[in-house]
């Protein structure tokens, strides 16, 4: 029974990673950059939802929507102010800027909300499910998280496969100049991608803090890095890859913690990244692209 329980917890934690990784992977796929501030947007999302529910008395579900809206605007602002001026700069400059944005957000949160840990109340109103005479307990948070992850992945897949905007994103991802020649406003498309990634980060933040209810300004940084690992693990740029990578990573982390060592669980997670990069640098579902001349 503990095995099943660990598996469910792993899938649930992995689903949070997967949602964040989807944001990483979409932004990488289209803007060809790693937005390391993604993890900190999670933290902002969680704080917004926390303030809405505790100080303003807003119902949990509406607090999530507010948090998504705030993070969407934040994402568009980050892209416009920090990354857009660097569109023609080297990727190293962009990477350093992303790390800078990440620290900026953490420290801004520290000034606004202080360093006192906040006890986040779960946004999921259901009771735990008890099976097999109480031998197996499933928290409603894990079920909601897993369900949210599946819904988001299906939505994003349909959006990029069938939607006009989604197709335009794929076009921009392949060839920015050619997309411009089709009349696609590439800057607006890239902002849209950041908007989607940040809205996903808000959802991930609320779900993460519902399951692990301690909220501090650095809450997002570790999950952010792990989600990045998940995105690389699954093959960065690939939507199903981010999902599979996230879930596998969650399972590895929980199993590592349960059966190997609590202290080493993070080390195990990052070892996975190193092994994947050595054995299959493009990730599980990543494609190696050869161009015809």
């Amino acid at each position: 029974m503990t095995l099943i329980s660990n598996l469910i917890n792993g899938i649930s934690l992995g689903s949070v990673y997967a949602i964040i990784a989807l944001g990483y992977t979409m932004v990488y796929g289209i803007a060809k950059m790693l937005n390391f501030a993604q993890g900190d947007v999670i933290m902002v999302g969680a704080y917004i939802s926390y303030i809405c529910t505790t100080s303003l008395g807003v119902p949990a579900l509406i607090s999530i929507l507010i948090s998504m809206a705030v993070c969407t605007i934040l994402g568009i602002m980050i892209e416009g102010l920090a990354y857009r001026p660097l569109r023609k700069a080297s990727s190293l400059a962009v990477l350093i800027t992303a790390i800078g944005v990440s620290y900026f957000l953490q420290n801004a949160a520290l000034i606004i909300w202080g360093s006192t840990p906040r006890a986040f109340t779960s946004v999921v109103p259901f009771k735990s499910i008890s099976l097999f005479d109480g031998q197996l307990t499933i928290t409603p948070e894990s079920l909601v998280t897993i369900a949210a992850c599946v819904v988001i992945m299906v939505f994003l897949t349909l959006f990029t496969k069938k939607g006009k905007m989604g197709k335009a994103m794929r076009a921009v991802s392949e060839d920015k100049d050619a997309a411009l020649l089709m009349g696609i406003n590439t800057n607006r498309t890239i902002s849209m991608t950041f908007a989607i990634g940040s809205a996903l980060a808000a959802i991930a933040g609320v779900l993460l803090c519902s399951a692990y209810p301690v909220l501090i300004p650095t809450t997002g940084s570790m999950p952010g890095i792990k989600a990045f690992t998940a995105a690389v693990f699954g093959g960065i740029g690939s939507i199903p890859g981010a999902m599979i990578g996230g879930i596998l990573l969650g399972i590895i982390e929980i199993f590592g913690r349960a059966y190997i060592s609590t202290q080493l669980s993070d080390a195990i997670v990052f070892s996975v990244l190193i092994i994947v990069l050595l054995v299959k640098p493009t990730g599980l579902l990543g494609k190696k692209i050869t161009e015809k001349v």
Binding site: K167, E174, D177, A178
Partner: protein
């Protein structure tokens, strides 16, 4: 229809176009010929807004487009098939065509029917990923995709590049057809012989300057051109 007046374009410190002026009248085929690196592609990129000139002006249908952004020019009737085709290799043939009609959402269905009519080979490969097409098919797709925006002025950059002679002939036949159907064409070619055959007028570009211009026939008969571009 298009008037380029004394444009100067730089890549960093490199002065790529040195005071280029040319014009394209309605219903003409105008060819721009010259050796590798003469500035032919740069000229097209500057017209379509992918690059911008430091000085000089570009006018499209009486509107100054010197500083316009590339994506805004498509709906003004300008289509540019870039060098190397630049189709979306990971998207299907159908999706590539849909992207071509990005600014003409109402035209997707009719446009695709028209393109398939013109290029029957593409119809059979509708759901195939564009990267799996042959070079000739990719060129057809690139041209079809450009037609999806209902262009008034179509700029083609080296449509014959890397194609077998029989396909080159086919592509040039299609260019003639498009012209007869009322599209104005600005054609960049290294294959000067083919280009001069179909062009009403042509310009010769050498290291960023226009050194000769005239009707297609005049240039084809010129000794200097024969020596430099037509193999004696």
């Amino acid at each position: 229809m298009l008037k380029v007046d004394d444009i100067n374009v730089y890549y960093g410190n490199i002065h790529a176009l040195k005071g280029i002026s040319l014009d394209v009248n309605e219903d003409e085929i105008v060819a721009l010929i010259g050796a590798n690196g003469a500035g032919k592609s740069t000229t097209l990129k500057t017209i379509s807004g992918l690059m911008h000139s430091k000085t000089g002006s570009i006018t499209l249908m009486n509107e100054d487009i010197s500083h316009a952004e590339a994506h805004k020019l498509v709906s003004k009737g300008l289509a540019h098939v870039p060098e190397g085709r630049r189709i979306f290799l990971q998207m299907t043939v159908q999706e590539n065509l849909e992207m071509g009609a990005y600014t003409q959402p109402g035209y997707v269905k009719d446009g695709i029917a028209d393109v398939f009519n013109r290029f029957p080979r593409l119809k059979h490969r509708k759901n195939q990923i564009a990267g799996t097409l042959s070079g000739g098919e990719q060129q057809m797709l690139a041209m079809g995709r450009a037609l999806m925006s209902k262009p008034k002025l179509l700029m083609l950059d080296e449509p014959s590049m890397g194609l077998a002679p029989i396909l080159v002939q086919q592509i040039f036949d299609i260019i003639k057809e498009l012209h007869e159907a009322g599209t104005t064409i600005l054609l960049v070619e290294q294959n000067a012989e083919m280009a001069l055959q179909i062009a009403d007028r042509a310009y010769v570009l050498e290291s960023g300057r226009i050194t000769l211009s005239g009707t297609g026939k005049e240039l084809a008969a010129s000794e200097a051109i024969k020596k430099a571009y037509l193999g004696g």
